[in-house]
């Protein structure tokens, strides 16, 4: 397995809408600094953002860990939320368990998980109702430019 180039971790606080998206924004900035292809950055940013929003909307707290290697981006979300009863059902576009007040904030239209799946190359979700959810996605990237002097 190739060496990891950049990695980071973020604490995600539930219902903290003021900072929602900040973690994914930083990941996007790192990818831009690294010169990754724009379309891949878009996919990674959207997938990360949707997963980040899910943690913030539905759970009390979670952790985001990312690893960026020359040929892949890996992002893992671990939360202590209510868990997902039926993952297959949750993956259907339009299916939502959002309470009404969330809909009025502009979220909860049931597009989150389908959006992640659409943008990621690999997606793994494991969840225990009452305990929490672990979501991991991987996006493959073309070899990015190495820093001068490294080969």
């Amino acid at each position: 397995m190739p060496d990891v180039v950049r990695e980071g971790v973020f604490f995600l606080k539930g219902k903290d809408f003021d900072n929602a998206g900040a973690a994914s924004s930083e990941i996007k900035a790192v990818l831009e600094q690294m010169g990754v292809d724009r379309s891949i950055i878009r996919r990674a940013a959207i997938a990360s953002f949707e997963a980040e929003m899910n943690v913030i909307i539905y759970t009390p707290a979670g952790i985001l860990r990312y690893k960026i290697a020359p040929d892949y981006i890996n992002v893992v979300f671990d939360d202590v939320g209510p868990g997902i009863e039926d993952v297959d059902l949750a993956m259907k576009e339009g299916y939502s368990t959002a309470p009404d007040f969330i809909r009025d904030m502009g979220f909860g239209s049931g597009m989150g998980l389908p959006n992640i799946k659409k943008n990621a190359d690999e997606l793994k979700i494991s969840s225990q109702p009452g305990v929490g959810t672990n979501l991991e996605f991987i996006i493959h990237i073309k070899k990015i430019n190495e820093a001068p002097g490294n080969s």
């Binding site: 929602a20 998206g21 929003m53 049931g110």
Partner: protein, 114 residues
């Protein structure tokens, strides 16, 4: 059309400082739900929305929206405006309804994501 023309057509005010009003925008995307914007929008559009929380600016960043037009007389707070300035996303605000704003822009030639 230019951002300046969009401003004129929708009688909007510009809320961000140092925004380039000459940028060309060819498409409009209207929604109050950000996940759908992320799923369906094409990069480089004008986002037209009535939702003013910070997540709108983040979503615009991820969806590569060129500018945001807030409708229904809604305005974001200063923190949100500051974030938009940092991300170089111009923010406009109009008192018009979303229907009226979209309608006017459409008949003046702004395309859609279709």
């Amino acid at each position: 059309m230019t951002l300046n023309e969009i401003k004129e057509i929708t009688e909007a005010e510009v809320l961000t400082n140092n925004s380039d009003m000459n940028i060309q925008i060819d498409r409009g995307c209207s929604s109050d739900l950000m996940s759908d914007v992320l799923a369906f929008s094409r990069p480089g559009s004008l986002l037209i929305t009535g939702l003013t929380n910070e997540t709108v600016v983040r979503s615009s960043e991820f969806a590569n929206m060129k500018a945001i037009l807030f409708v229904r007389g809604k305005k974001p707070n200063t923190k949100t405006i500051a974030l938009a300035e940092e991300k170089k996303i111009p923010i406009l605000a109009t008192k018009l309804s979303m229907f009226e704003a979209c309608g006017r822009l459409y008949i003046k030639g702004l395309g859609s994501d279709n």
